[in-house]
């Protein structure tokens, strides 16, 4: 075991893992985090704590992670390169690990120009790959980024993300391989609506044998309305929402929309579960945490752990 988190444990044991997500508040209202943690803890193994998502300033992810931990929800602390340089990130991680955080997810981060402080100076001292490699080296090589010795080292289970729908498409499995080479232990993917494209990507991933070196958690989430579907299709960078999904959402009565969104999500999960190389599901409820329980139940992912995911057996 690298970090000994519940997530790591489940994955190593070959259990089909479910993770979810907690968005920190735009205030010091700790109860927001605690409530979400309580809401999710029975449905997911661990929850991502987002780091100023979409470039909007919110409560620090490490702090929220600690609160989630107190509520019995294992946090996966997100770390982005947008607003901290390699010094800040390393010191934060030392603190996080010291306080008992065991999972970290390394991201590039959304550009500040998309957020609520567009005039701030974008940092991007590192990119997500370099970040992943740095965290892995802190743990495995016991080294700071500059090569200095780090002892004792932070024991962190290192995650990274990949967007199978980003362009150029041909490069996406290559980039995944790079992340695994950089040291990613697990991968969470972008929200999947275009199953066809995801299937193609997974094929490439399997062709390269990457699925045998990393745990891939497929990203899903319920859509709340046709408007939300269109918004995600047209406005959210890196999202691929096919026309038929929009049509399906538009085809039902307004008050039935949420139900339909959950239905689509569940169907997606069921398709994903059958795919070779998928080690779990990452449910992003996007401020609709109440839906997670229903999804997990309807999709038959409960009780946790559900079953051994036969196709996943990473040899590390």
């Amino acid at each position: 075991m690298k970090a000994g988190s519940k997530l790591e444990q489940a994955l190593v044991e070959g259990r089909f893992a479910v993770t979810s997500e907690i968005g920190p508040p735009k205030s010091v209202d700790a109860e927001v985090v605690r409530r979400k943690a309580r809401l999710l803890r029975d449905h997911a193994l661990a929850a991502n704590i987002t780091d100023n998502p979409t470039g909007v300033v919110r409560m620090a992810s490490i702090a929220c992670g600690l609160m989630a931990l107190q509520e019995g929800m294992e946090p996966i602390v997100q770390v982005t390169c947008r607003d901290r340089n390699r010094m800040a990130i390393q010191s934060d991680l030392l603190g996080a690990a010291a306080m008992g955080i065991k999972n970290v997810l390394c991201l590039t981060g959304d550009h500040p120009s998309l957020g609520n402080h567009p005039q701030s100076k974008p940092v991007f001292d590192l990119d997500s790959l370099q970040l992943t490699q740095m965290v892995r080296n802190m743990r495995d090589e016991k080294q700071f980024q500059n090569g200095e010795e780090l002892n004792p080292e932070p024991r962190l289970f290192v995650g990274a993300v990949e967007n199978p729908f980003g362009h150029p498409l041909q490069f996406r499995s290559v980039r995944l391989a790079k992340k695994v080479n950089a040291g990613a232990d697990f991968i969470q993917t972008q929200l999947i609506f275009n199953i066809k494209r995801f299937r193609e990507w997974m094929q490439e991933v399997r062709d390269r044998g990457i699925h045998e070196r990393v745990y891939i958690l497929a990203g899903v989430g319920p859509i709340r309305s046709a408007g939300a579907a269109r918004f995600m299709r047209d406005r959210v960078p890196g999202m691929d929402v096919p026309e038929e999904v929009v049509q399906r959402m538009a085809g039902v009565e307004r008050n039935e929309a949420r139900k339909e969104g959950i239905k689509i999500c569940v169907e997606t999960i069921q398709e994903l579960r059958e795919m070779e190389g998928i080690a779990g599901i990452h449910i992003m409820a996007l401020e609709w945490e109440e839906a997670v329980g229903e999804i997990v139940e309807t999709a038959g992912l409960k009780p946790l752990p559900m079953r051994l995911a036969a196709s996943v057996s990473p040899e590390r």
Partner: protein, 222 residues
């Protein structure tokens, strides 16, 4: 070349509001070529400011001059007399020009008329685009001649990020994804496999964020 654009007129007018007599000083090099501070722009700026003054009832006197390069003292000396005769200088040069004036004429008030935007080139007549960050540690060789520092919004060295779509950047459909450009060039050159290597964190110490960088060539000194 250095690419700049004129500051908003209100900002320029605010800067020079205390002064009665102002020299508008153009620069005949980069900023002429990017239509921000050449002789023509000096004329347009002077006329605009005179009119703006007339409209608001603040009569001001504006002198006009353009030197070959504002960043050379010798050229600045050619307009020393005019500079001496005014209350302030509005420089339509780049930030270098403004500072050169400040250094050469320590007692003169100098204000920038331009925002120095980037190092770049015209991609078509009337459109300029950033190409270089003057980072002091060129990595173009690795990226098929396309700079990831400037052309990727996040300066990723292991890009593209997940926001790249249809060749444009996630932050605006008007910005081409630098990494798509790199990818395409590498593909043409048959060098796509080089992308599989992980590029280590960049040494930023050679570039921005260090005051007073200098280059010294002893052999050229007089």
């Amino acid at each position: 070349m250095i690419v700049g654009e004129q500051k908003p007129l209100d900002e320029i007018r605010d800067q020079i509001s205390p002064f009665k007599k102002v020299l508008i000083l153009g620069c005949g090099t980069c900023v002429t070529v990017c239509f921000a501070g050449g002789e023509k722009e000096v004329g347009v700026m002077a006329s605009t400011l005179r009119m703006a003054g007339a409209v608001s009832g603040q009569e001001k006197e504006f002198l006009e001059a353009t030197v070959k390069r504002q960043c050379e003292w010798e050229f600045l000396d050619q307009v020393a007399e005019q500079i001496a005769s005014v209350d302030a200088v509005l420089s339509l040069g780049c930030g270098i020009g403004v500072q050169a004036i400040a250094e050469r004429f320590p007692k003169v008030r100098v204000y920038p008329g331009l925002n120095t935007s980037f190092l770049g080139m015209p991609v078509e007549q009337g459109v300029w685009s950033a190409r270089c960050a003057a980072c002091g540690d060129c990595v173009l060789g690795r990226f098929a001649g396309v700079c990831p520092i400037v052309r990727c919004s996040k300066s990723l060295l292991n890009g593209p990020c997940g926001g790249s779509h249809d060749g444009v950047c996630e932050i605006s459909p008007d910005i081409p994804c630098g990494w798509q450009l790199i990818y395409d060039r590498l593909e043409v050159l048959g060098l796509l496999d080089t992308l599989e290597e992980i590029v280590p964190p960049k040494d930023w110490s050679a570039g921005m964020g260090r005051g007073g960088r200098s280059i010294v060539r002893e052999d050229l000194k007089i």
